[in-house]
């Protein structure tokens, strides 16, 4: 997709993915732990918009990120923008050279326990993680 498309305004029915690069963020039942959605000490949480991407392209972005970070890719948690907005957070497009669909979940409160409570809501909304298909 082009830079122009990636700047498309975010809508509530869009889907977002948070790539899982640590097995510690996965529960045995393949749901995601809230830990994966806590931004602290940072102010934003990095996600990828599904906008105009095929399933294969989403996995390719995840693999690119994992390779760049020298980590294994375990899967990605999918949440709808509406679930983010329900927590009074905002999704801000932040296209990167290697991921034009990159965005940040922003406007987090600074209070750590409140961040944890919000992260639990996001984890509940995400439910089961899309596990990386065995190659």
């Amino acid at each position: 997709m082009t830079n122009e498309l990636s700047a498309t305004p975010v809508t509530s029915d869009e889907l977002l993915s948070r790539f899982i690069l640590s097995s510690r963020h996965l529960r045995q039942d393949h749901t995601i732990r809230a830990d994966a959605f806590v931004p602290h000490p940072y102010t934003d949480l990095s996600v990828t918009r599904h906008l105009f991407l095929s399933n294969v392209e989403i996995w390719n972005i995840g693999m690119t990120i994992a390779t760049k970070q020298q980590k294994a890719l375990f899967g990605h948690a999918v949440i709808q923008v509406s679930a983010v907005e329900k927590q009074r957070l905002r999704v801000a497009p932040d296209p990167l050279a290697d991921n034009l669909n990159h965005a940040n979940i922003t406007d987090w409160p600074t209070d750590k326990p409140l961040q944890k409570a919000i992260a639990q809501e996001l984890a509940a909304a995400a439910g089961k993680v899309q596990l990386k298909p065995k190659s």
């Binding site: 790539f19 690069l21 640590s22 097995s23 510690r24 963020h25 529960r27 749901t31 732990r33 809230a34 830990d35 994966a36 806590v38 931004p39 602290h40 000490p41 940072y42 990095s46 990120i65 994992a66 970070q69 980590k71 750590k112 326990p113 409140l114 944890k116 409570a117 992260a119 639990q120 809501e121 984890a123 509940a124 439910g127």
Partner: protein, 165 residues
């Protein structure tokens, strides 16, 4: 000598000190601590015996390098691990075993998870703070308690609420 044991004694953190000051009080405190340690380490009753300490250690090992999550996470410090061990030690006998995780700020998390909307997470920070959040149905509870070596009552209550049948 007759010593009575009530629930508050049994459920008190193992590393807490006696409030008494005499040699007898010290002796009883040491005796109780030794008994608690033995029970904790027994395979049938203690969390340590159920491999929790090993699992906690594995969590520490896998998160003690910077960027362990691929998003620039801070490493878990030795101090955080030490406090997490102490927190584990404080859990009353019979407490369901938590699972362990880490957050990007290097805090170790203890999670009691029954379902997506019945879950409790406690973060142990290197500053002796316990940040907790529980999601129980539509209710949310969260806050911070200072960790003085004893399990805060509010967290104990939440463990029971989340793990009850």
């Amino acid at each position: 000598m007759i010593a009575t044991l009530d629930a508050s004694v049994i459920f008190t953190c193992g590393s807490s000190s006696s409030h008494g000051s005499s040699a007898t009080a010290d002796f009883i405190a040491k005796l109780l601590e030794r008994q608690r340690k033995h029970t904790r380490e027994s395979r049938t009753a203690g969390i340590y015996g159920r491999d929790a300490l090993y699992n906690l250690y594995q969590t520490f090992i896998s998160s003690r390098e910077p960027n362990w999550d691929g998003y620039g996470a801070l490493p878990v410090s030795n101090m955080t691990f030490r406090l997490a061990k102490q927190f584990l030690n404080c859990l009353p006998l019979g407490t369901p075993e938590p699972s362990f995780g880490t957050e990007p700020d290097g805090h170790i998390t203890f999670e009691w998870h029954k379902s997506l909307r019945k879950t409790l997470s406690v973060s142990v920070s290197p500053d002796c703070e316990l940040h907790f959040a529980a999601l129980i149905g539509e209710n949310k509870t969260y806050g911070t308690e200072i960790f003085y070596g004893e399990l805060p009552k509010i967290i104990l209550d939440l463990i029971f609420r989340v793990t009850e049948a």
